[in-house]
């Protein structure tokens, strides 16, 4: 009996230790959140009927000195006599924390988000009731503002970014390589070949690096005519494991073995390829246009520039994304949030122009654009702006399918396993395609 009690106690002790783990799990990835408050001092303007209110805003990045949205919020607060409470929640934590806030009836009045409004459209205000949406770029509305499952615009686009390729001008010069132009772009094979030359002649460690994001890898897929799904009447078919996609992944795995920092795409390191580029260890970087400002201020040891995306077997391709401003329907101060949005995008667009000059990014509005100060920046922005023309129909179909609501992180995991050599490209894509088909109920095309 005594032994039985002792054994049972040992079991319960072990279970207690293990289950305490489950209790700790809900704390998220540990990035946490922070909150800051700023108060306006100016008198209320005529166009701002609400004063003395507090606008609670969730932002995904810690606002810095040049933070465009934070600055716009502070300016609005100062002009209207309202207060802004900024809550910083990391991008990765947004999806777990927003439902928690909703359950606790503690929703923010305004969310700066890349996906919440698309994932939970029923929870957000229809923006066509707040603003005249015809002032926005149509692609930005479709890709950044629209919900995954309906045509409702649940967020007004704020930031607009595109995939783009940065290059180290000094390394190109040392290797005797001429940068491609919009009129005469490289093919992807030429990019890999030149990456090898850069390693050999310019002494860089890696000719080419890419962010660990399926949104980067996918431009290779679209350029080679591939897609994740294809339309099939009112539904879709999974095409992820198509022969052209397998071929694209095989070539990407080969590039990782030859000219790329393989550990990054093999998923074995926390290193960021952007740092490799900034350090001069990678000569070409596939990343997002939003990096441009950081590079401008932080890269001092070499000149950098932007090149157009290379041509695949079918076309050039780019993936557009960005952040939107969305108003939760059940927020305490919906009208105040609407007031801020109307102020930011107001009739003469001057506030958005100010925002854009600080943000130094691509404009989401038809009549407003960022005005770079230098000729170099003007050239680079012309290339980045041109990238937005390379959005493919296949990408638009994939986005329309909302496949990411069924499976998302698993796709990148599958790509990483192929790069790490755990499985072949065919096995990786077959496995993920089958999982996606099962989760979505769509048929497999291959």
């Amino acid at each position: 009996m005594k032994k039985l009690i002792k054994n049972t106690m040992a079991g319960v002790m072990a279970a207690a230790m293990l289950t305490s783990l489950a209790a700790c799990g809900s704390s998220g990835s540990g990035s946490g959140s922070a909150s800051t408050t700023s108060t306006g001092t100016a008198e209320t303007s005529e166009s701002a009927p609400i004063t003395g209110g507090t606008l609670k805003v969730t932002l995904s990045e810690e606002p810095g000195e040049g933070d465009a949205l934070g600055n716009a919020l502070d300016t609005w607060a100062a002009e209207t006599g309202n207060t802004v409470e900024k809550i910083i929640i990391s991008h990765d934590d947004m999806r777990t924390k927003f439902p928690s806030m909703a359950k606790n009836k503690d929703l923010p009045d305004l969310c700066a988000t890349t996906f919440l409004h698309q994932l939970y459209p029923d929870e957000f205000v229809d923006m066509s009731t707040v603003l005249d949406l015809s002032m926005f770029n149509e692609n930005a509305l479709k890709l950044v503002g629209k919900s995954y499952t309906s045509d409702t615009i649940t967020g007004v686009p704020e930031q607009y970014t595109t995939t783009c390729i940065f290059y180290n001008k000094d390394a190109f010069e040392a290797a005797g390589i001429e940068a491609p132009t919009i009129e005469d772009p490289w093919t992807w094979d030429e990019l890999y070949e030149n990456a090898a030359i850069l390693q050999e002649k310019a002494g860089v460690k890696y000719g080419f690096a890419a962010d660990v994001s399926r949104a980067r890898y996918d431009i290779l897929m679209y350029a080679n005519g591939g897609s994740i799904v294809e339309a099939d009447g009112d539904t879709f078919k999974v095409t992820l494991n198509s022969p052209q996609n397998v071929s694209t992944l095989e070539r990407f795995v080969q590039a990782n073995n030859e000219v790329m920092p393989k550990a990054i795409w093999a998923g074995g390191t926390t290193d960021n390829p952007v740092e490799y580029f900034k350090n001069g260890d990678a000569a070409i970087l596939l990343s997002g246009s939003w990096n441009y400002n950081t590079f401008s201020s932080e890269i001092t040891s070499f000149d950098f520039g932007v090149i157009p995306s290379p041509m695949g077997s079918t076309c050039q391709s780019a993936i557009i994304g960005g952040s939107a401003l969305a108003i939760p329907k059940d927020a305490e101060n919906v009208e105040l949030a609407e007031q801020f949005i109307q102020w930011l995008y107001g009739d003469d667009h001057s506030n958005y122009q100010d925002y854009l000059q600080l943000h130094k990014g691509l404009s989401v509005m038809n009549d407003v654009s960022y005005q770079p100060e230098t000729d170099k920046a003007k050239e680079d922005f012309a290339i980045m702006q041109n990238e937005t023309n390379y959005v493919t129909d296949t990408f638009m179909t994939d986005e329309a399918s909302s496949w990411r609501t069924y499976k998302d992180a698993e796709y990148r995991d599958a790509l990483e396993r192929a790069v790490a050599g755990e499985v072949t490209a065919q096995e990786a894509l077959d496995t993920f395609a089958a999982e996606l088909a099962e989760a979505s109920g769509w048929e497999m095309a291959y």
Partner: protein
């Protein structure tokens, strides 16, 4: 009679006064999450809107999923390979710092214990600084003496070794303290008697110290087994479970299913299954070591 009753009531009241705070904490932070996890495991809970009863579906899915078995097997292998080091290193350190021939014992104990105070993520960052493939100290030193840098982030074995080294580094000080307590409880007379009988220090270590520390070793073994099976934060800080899935252990797998893929119901079922496996391991350990009885 009344006086006896009053005294008994007072004792009962005092008993509950002492027990109640712990009982409340235990209920809120252990029992309720446990019952919630069990309930979630029978649903398709997605963390917010969906929570339909699905019966045993999550358990069947888990038990027919090859990835689950692979990850569990990998976790068990990591634990088994790690255990000898997790027990032996603290024991040797404790023996060293309780030795009369060592100077500055307090300083040495403090230095060994400091990593215990680090959060696992800080330890991960520190280890990354040393073992980083591109910018790590070790590879820098290796290159300095003309040796090719090691592929810590690409070779599954090397990546596992790095995590293992980090895990031992952050835990050795804690278990060392437990062993020091055990060593201090051993009567010096035994060592004197052994010395008179002509036993060497090594013979005294294996003939006296190790057997008499069996109860402590049992606790260390149990705790290190459980902590190794639960290895998570260090992995996140060092390798993110890669390359590929080669350092993805069971807790990371469960976390990924729950918090990245939003399959809370399935993740709960995995958690319950894994808890059962861990309990079986603990019971087997208990039986095999006879609870540390000498």
């Amino acid at each position: 009679m009344t006086k006896t009753k009053n005294t008994a009531l007072k004792h009962t009241g005092a008993f509950w006064m002492f027990v109640l705070p712990s009982l409340l904490l235990f209920t809120f932070f252990f029992m309720i999450p446990l019952f919630l996890s069990i309930w979630f495991s029978f649903t398709n809970y997605d963390g917010w809107k969906t929570m339909d009863f699905v019966g045993l579906k999550n358990y069947i899915t888990a038990l027919t999923n090859a990835d689950f078995y692979k990850t569990l097997g990998r976790t068990l292998l990591y634990t088994i390979c790690n255990l000898p080091f997790k027990v032996a290193i603290p024991l040797l350190l404790a023996t060293l710092v309780t030795s009369k021939s060592l100077k500055c014992t307090t300083l040495v104990r403090t230095l060994v214990y400091i990593p215990v105070l680090f959060s696992a993520l800080v330890a991960g960052i520190t280890i990354n600084w040393m073992f980083g493939q591109e910018y790590g100290l070790i590879n820098f030193l290796l290159q300095g003496i003309g040796i090719q840098p090691l592929q810590w982030s690409l070779n599954p074995t090397l990546a596992t070794i790095v995590i293992s080294v980090a895990s031992n580094w952050v835990s050795a000080g804690y278990y060392m303290l437990m062993y020091i307590g055990g060593i201090k409880n051993i009567s010096p007379d035994l060592y004197e008697a052994a010395s008179v009988d002509g036993a060497s220090k090594v013979q005294a270590f294996f003939g006296i110290t190790v057997p008499l520390l069996m109860p402590t070793t049992f606790i260390v073994l149990l705790l290190t087994t459980v902590s190794s099976l639960k290895e998570y934060a260090l992995v996140q800080g060092i390798s993110l479970g890669g390359p590929g899935t080669s350092t993805t252990y069971i807790v990371q797998y469960i976390y990924d299913q729950g918090f990245n893929q939003y399959k809370y119901g399935y993740a709960s079922a995995l958690g319950i299954l894994v808890s059962l496996v861990f309990i079986i391991i603990a019971v087997v350990q208990f039986k095999a070591t006879k609870g540390g009885e000498i």
